[in-house]
């Protein structure tokens, strides 16, 4: 057992319970309306915090990042599928980084 293997196992013991335990305690359980409301909004806010502002540094160039983000926003807003949003954003970022 190397130090890294031991470290990995300990890291798993630290990270896994935070993901696993809620599945046991909350599945199929009715919570107070306030908590239910809170948990309802969590996916939106998590995505918001994940996307912004980190998307602005995502390609290593602010202009191509902004262009790609704008393209992704437009495509998603007008209801295009995930694959088009994805390729549209990458393609736009790629083009802008080359002009």
């Amino acid at each position: 057992m190397t130090k890294i293997i031991i470290l990995s196992v300990l890291m798993m013991l630290v990270t896994a319970p935070s993901r696993i335990l809620p599945a046991f305690f909350l599945t199929g359980r009715k919570l107070p309306p306030f908590v239910e409301s809170f948990l309802y909004y969590v996916p939106f806010t998590i995505l918001g915090s994940l996307i912004f502002p980190d998307i602005l540094n995502s390609t290593g160039n602010i202009y191509s990042s902004i262009a790609g983000a704008a393209m992704a926003f437009l495509l998603a807003w007008f209801g295009r599928g995930p694959l088009l949003v994805l390729t549209g954003a990458i393609f736009t970022a790629f083009i802008v980084s080359h002009i």
Binding site: T27, Y40, P43, F44, G48, P53, A76
Partner: protein, 249 residues
Amino acid sequence: MKSKTNSNSTIATGFINGFKKGTPIALCCIPGAIAFGILAKTASLTAWESVFMSFIVFAGASQFVAVNLFTLGAAIPEILIAVGVLNMRHMMMSSSLAKKYLPNTTFLQKFWMGFEMTDETFSLAAMQKEDYLSSEFVMGLNLPLHFTWTTATYLGWIGTSILPDSVQESMGIAIFAIFMGLLIPSVRKNRAGLIVTAIAMAMSAYIKWTPFLDATINKGVSIMITAGAAALFGAIVFPRKEEGEQKPL
């Protein structure tokens, strides 16, 4: 209340559905996993150690931080604290997602669905339109990411970067584009959702752009604070009516 699930007639079709939905997001994470493999190699981890860590820890940011700290000679408890704090946000995600697991989910299924949950697969699963998700669907959705994360770590370690640098840089936007593709259609006609999302973004930008806060608060904590506060705001200002009145995610 009507309990719509996306489980079709058989277990196999549910799993395959999930697998199909999970594949694009899994491809997006390849550059990240390659980068981790490269970092692990420069930090003189063996290929086996790097792949082992990717397989059992399966948490991108935590692995980068851990290997960085390790090379700086940090003590193991120090690394564990950093990793623990970075991952606390998963508790919030897992709690929110648990509301969509079917009540009859078995012990092992809950265990494995929790173990494989990541920012990416959480986002994907949470944004599905159905009220409930069958466990085979969720497991099918998680599996491709776990697989590509582990194998691409190995590729990075071996040093085979499949794509040219300029394409790889543009690929950096991939995961964010996926996130927007998930988020925007569901907030477009949901005023409360749109407002809480904007608040989370503004707070997250405030932390990032205030040098003092950016230096003291790591990304995991920032996500937890900003997403938590914005969701709290939503729960106070736009409380949800009893079941069924508003369309769930």
